[in-house]
């Protein structure tokens, strides 16, 4: 296939593939997508699906913010929601965003597409299981639609007992089943990635030559495999508790409601790292590429992902400082919580050092990555207030917590997701997008996001509780700023959507390597051929950017013919 003939040792030749060979066109028809075992098509289907879930969850969020523009009037009437409906909206917003969007967003959508190509493999280890996990996601989503039709869910996404087990009159069981099935989807993705990274590495791809995105996905897969089953059994116990009165979480029958919180957070705290680790991993790729510089502290970043994954299992009690657990346990959990800050900070300092004296290119992915650094720093540092027992007692269940985790989940994960989406978009669909409108969208979204959530820190620290339908007048200004911010964020994201759709329709054809990255996914054509690589690509240092040079003819980067791998890294 290869048409280039000059190959120096270590240099890679981007194979020129005929148009029909790319994964989008090698077969047609609905069934060729629905039954596909190709990780790239499954990734694209995941992408469409999680974006639909994101849209739905976002609409719920806007409904909440609109309602909160004014407090309820003297008769307790809201703007357009009843208190019950409001409770259902925030529960569904949380459950849909967490289980249907954030958790699968980066690993299942981007990860599925990129992991094997970046690794230099033809597919994930278990393609059929991969398709299964996509359909399990769909079944889980259907359960949530059933919840919507059966009158919603008002327990919050956390399903705390005894409210969820004995009191709530909403469709708790379908929601639990939905989350249970989504958990299995996540487990199967995790097993698949774990085995792929262990067993499908091409010759020369040692663990310490893996790009950092793959290290992040590896750490994520470890958490998915080790934590999600515990959520599964917990949700199942709650289902039987609610359906048959089995008595696990019911004190009247000999059970313990706080046990549910322990089980739930044993999964859900590590799950927080399922959400953020892949995001951090994208940032490592983008920052190195767009600073035109080798990543700084490769091994530290790689190992810190694993450290975060492991520490994440020992800190769940910091969600329960006010639950009545023993002060000794709380103290230990608090201390362990601080330990997670260390590997997170290692990553941030290494990213900053990578940029230092780099040749920074402000492309759209980089704009998002910089946004990530800023927002994640705020989200991470406010987490320390909540990990400290004394301040947490004051801040527990206030808007401060809401603002904190939105800075991490949205400012962190969503921003990284968008960085990754813009970064790999040309590779995925073979089309370039308009840099200008991408950057405008990013800036509008950034302003909107900060306007939404920064005021929430203030009202939270002044005592505004989360999940309340109404509020006292002194919080009005913060709520109104927040609502205006939410609509600004919407405008920003609509610009992003417009930008990407425009790119699909009218975008210029993307070169193999538009950004000049040295990782393997840029060595095949854009979009990649069905088999990814005809021959196993040769593996080198994934961050040695000297191996490529700008080629004005293709408007992309090509391999330097005279490249000799340096021994410096």
């Amino acid at each position: 296939m290869s048409t280039t003939t000059t190959t120096a040792p270590g240099a890679l030749t981007p194979a020129v593939q005929p148009e029909s060979d790319n994964y989008l066109k090698n077969s047609t028809g609905l069934l060729s997508w629905a039954m596909t075992l190709d990780h790239k098509r499954i990734g694209v289907m995941y992408l469409v699906a999680v974006l639909a879930a994101f849209f739905l969850g976002g609409m719920f969020a806007l409904a909440l913010r609109t309602e909160l523009f004014f407090p309820a009037d003297s008769t307790g009437q809201g703007l357009f929601l009843t208190p019950d409906l409001y409770n259902q909206m925030f529960s569904l917003h949380g459950a849909i965003m967490v289980f249907l969007f954030i958790i699968p967003s980066i690993p299942a959508a981007l990860g599925n597409f990129i992991l094997p190509v970046m690794l230099g493999a033809k597919d994930v280890a278990f393609p059929r299981l991969n398709l299964w996990s996509f359909y399990l996601w769909c079944v889980g989503a259907v359960f949530f639609l059933v919840v919507l039709m059966q009158g919603g869910l008002d327990t919050g996404w956390t399903f705390y007992t005894p409210y969820s087990s004995t009191k709530s009159l909403t469709a708790v069981v379908p929601a639990l089943m939905g989350a249970f099935i989504l958990g299995f989807s996540s487990i199967f993705t995790g097993i698949n990635f774990l085995v792929t990274l262990h067993k499908m590495r091409p010759p020369g791809m040692t663990f310490f030559r893996l790009p950092l995105f793959l290290w992040g996905l590896y750490a994520t897969a470890v958490i998915q495999v080790l934590a999600t089953p515990v959520l599964g059994i917990t949700l199942l116990m709650l289902v039987v508790e609610r359906s048959f009165g089995i008595g696990i979480f019911d004190p009247a029958l000999g059970g313990d409601p706080v046990l549910f919180q322990h089980f739930f957070w044993f999964y859900s705290h590590p799950a927080v790292y399922i959400m953020i680790l892949p995001g951090m991993a994208i940032i490592s790729e983008v920052i190195s590429t767009f600073s035109r510089k080798h990543i700084f502290g490769y091994r530290f970043i790689a190992c810190s992902s694993i450290a975060i994954a492991l520490f994440g299992f020992f800190v769940w009690g910091h969600h329960m400082f006010t639950s009545g657990q023993s002060p000794l346990a709380s103290t230990i959990f608090s201390a362990l919580t601080f330990s997670v800050a260390v590997p997170s900070a290692i990553k941030v300092f290494n990213w900053l050092t990578t940029m230092y004296k780099g040749n920074i290119v402000l492309g759209a992915p980089m704009i998002y990555a910089l946004g990530f650094l800023f927002l994640f720093a705020i989200g991470g540092l406010t987490g320390l207030f909540l990990g400290t027992m004394g301040t947490d007692i004051h801040l527990h269940d206030t808007y401060f917590v809401v603002a904190h985790f939105h800075y991490v989940m949205v400012g962190g994960t969503l921003w990284a997701f968008l960085a990754g989406l813009y970064y790999w978009w040309p590779k995925m669909f073979g089309k370039m997008y308009s840099e200008r409108s991408a950057i405008v969208g990013s800036i509008v979204a950034f302003i909107g996001f900060n306007l939404t959530f920064f005021p929430q820190f203030f009202m939270g620290s002044q005592g505004m509780p989360r999940r309340y339908f109404t509020y006292v007048p002194e919080f009005q200004i913060y709520h109104q700023l927040s609502t205006i911010g939410a609509y600004t964020l919407l405008v920003g994201l609509l610009i992003v959507a417009y930008n990407l759709v425009q790119s699909l329709l009218k975008g210029e054809r993307a070169p193999s390597n538009p950004w000049g990255s040295a990782t393997l996914e840029w060595q095949c054509t854009s979009p990649p051929p069905y088999y990814n690589f005809k021959d196993s690509p040769e593996v080198g240092d994934p961050y040695d950017l000297d191996r490529v040079q700008w080629d004005p003819k293709t408007k992309g980067y090509v391999n330097r013919p005279d490249y000799v791998p340096s021994a410096s890294h």
Partner: protein, 301 residues
Amino acid sequence: MSTTPHTAGVAAAPPHGAHAHGDHAHGGHGDHGDHGHHNPDVAHHFDTANQQFDAGKLGIWAFLVTEVLFFSGLFCAYSIWRNLNPEVFLYAHHYLDTTLGATNTVVLLFSSLTAAWAVRCAQLNQKKGLVLCLSLTLLCAFGFLGVKYVEYSHKLHDGIGWGTAYQPHNPKLFSELTASGHYLNGRYVSEIAAERNLGIDGVPYAELDNAGKFQIAEQLRPEFLPEPVKVRTFFGIYYGMTGLHGVHVVGGILVFLWLLVRALKGQFHAGYFGPVDYAALYWHLVDLVWIYLFPMLYLIH
């Protein structure tokens, strides 16, 4: 479990042997190009049969880890409950039939043996043996579920359900229990009788016939009622744990049925036996879980 397709192939010269053992095709480079020459048992995205086998093996082990963690939630709940309400467990386990439980333990242990033997048969190209072993494993699995059905239906018939469904309504139940188990609310009748020198007409308890022992148990009964309030908790966890285990047995049956069909078609041989191996590993775990459940629920002292 230690035999890889490679070594097994050398020993037994499988039908598709030549391609399955890819030394010749591999000079340190993944040879992605030769789809035409690929072993039909190796999926397109793997380079060699060994790579495929290893991937499957790691995959099944990772899956088993998730299974262990899945059950661990219930085991954790069990230990917390038992720690909170030890008297409940001591009292209630006498409702369980140790003989049936022990029978099922033997049945499952035997099926683990046949499952492991099935792997060996596949490795040695013994099609008949493979079919026989898979069938025996299936038979045991159905037998296990049959015994479980008998246990469940007896209990439910007497109103011994889970949680809120615990409403014992068989008046003879208590008498039967004491007659067979000689047991009252956490203590053996024999113990109490020995302590208090109880007997009938000077004959000590230990030397009485069953009717006599029963009479003494009935005398003591009012003193030792009521039963622990939260006794239903025990049955909640009993049905929860054995039920989930039962679901896994059903899952195993489906897998072994699928393997049996494939084995009858002659699809397994020394160069390709991964699925049999993985299913057997899963089955051993199901067996192992039961080995913990049996003493934890039936053999409490």
